[in-house]
């Protein structure tokens, strides 16, 4: 049973427009969520996170929204730039897990931003 799901394997947007990447989770014990970005031949890099006590966190062009009742989070990138083209992974962690800090990752969404 996959606890973190990214149902869209790929997304293509035009430069300057908004990119919206979605993530759903099933485990109600998750209380901290992260987004990572991965370029080819590199390891993922941390992008932005959100605690379950918030419903929004913003960092420059990147905003993460959390809807706990729907067990859904999304990453908004605006305006999108060609350099944002990468694979984006959603991850979830639980403070109550005996292995707090261990994250469960989704399968990733490949974002392509066209010039």
């Amino acid at each position: 049973d996959q606890q973190v799901k990214q149902n869209s394997p790929s997304l293509s947007v035009q430069e300057g427009r908004i990119s919206i990447l979605n993530c759903d989770y099933t485990n109600s014990m998750f209380d901290y969520f992260l987004w990572y970005k991965k370029y080819p031949a590199e390891g993922p890099t941390f992008l932005i996170s959100i605690s379950s006590i918030k419903d929004k966190n913003e960092d420059g062009r990147f905003t993460v929204f959390l809807n706990k009742s729907a067990k859904h989070l999304s990453l908004h990138i605006v305006p999108s730039q060609p350099g944002d083209s990468a694979v984006y992974f959603c991850a979830a962690s639980s403070l109550y897990n005996t292995n707090a800090g261990k994250s469960t990752f989704g399968d990733g969404t490949t974002l392509t931003v066209k010039p």
């Binding site: 990214q6 901290y32 992260l34 990572y36 031949a41 590199e42 390891g43 993922p44 890099t45 941390f46 996170s49 992974f89 962690s93 292995n99 707090a100 800090g101 261990k102 994250s103 469960t104 990752f105 989704g106 399968d107 990733g108």
Partner: protein, 112 residues
């Protein structure tokens, strides 16, 4: 400062051989993780070390896989009697007191 490093960057091995993959975490990071990413797939959790606690081995796919960590430093992931389905990129990550993980560049393993 220095990030997470992994070696080798690429490894080609024959089916049935053993391989060792190495990870050097960021100094001071107490947690260390190993993941596997097969072509076109997501990150598959393998094993997690946190300080002196017993490692969480729940993600290891078979008893051919094992990992060790020396204190809060280097870790090695060993795959015995490699199979073609073991071909993947093996990623190591470390973290301190936050949930944010810092990843190495990965080791691309090809089993022929």
């Amino acid at each position: 400062g220095a990030g997470v490093s992994q070696s080798p960057s690429n490894k080609v091995t024959e089916k049935g051989k053993d391989v060792e993959l190495r990870c050097d975490p960021i100094s001071g990071h107490t947690a260390l993780y190993w993941y596997r990413q097969r072509l076109g797939q997501g990150l598959e959790f393998l094993i997690y070390f946190q300080g002196n606690s017993a490692p969480d081995k729940s993600g290891l796919p078979s008893d051919r896989f094992s990992a060790e960590r020396t204190g809060e430093s280097v870790s090695t992931l060993t795959i015995q009697r490699t199979q073609q389905e073991d071909s993947a990129v093996y990623l190591c990550a470390s973290s301190s007191h936050s949930y944010e993980q810092y990843f190495g560049p990965g080791t691309r393993l090809t089993v022929t």
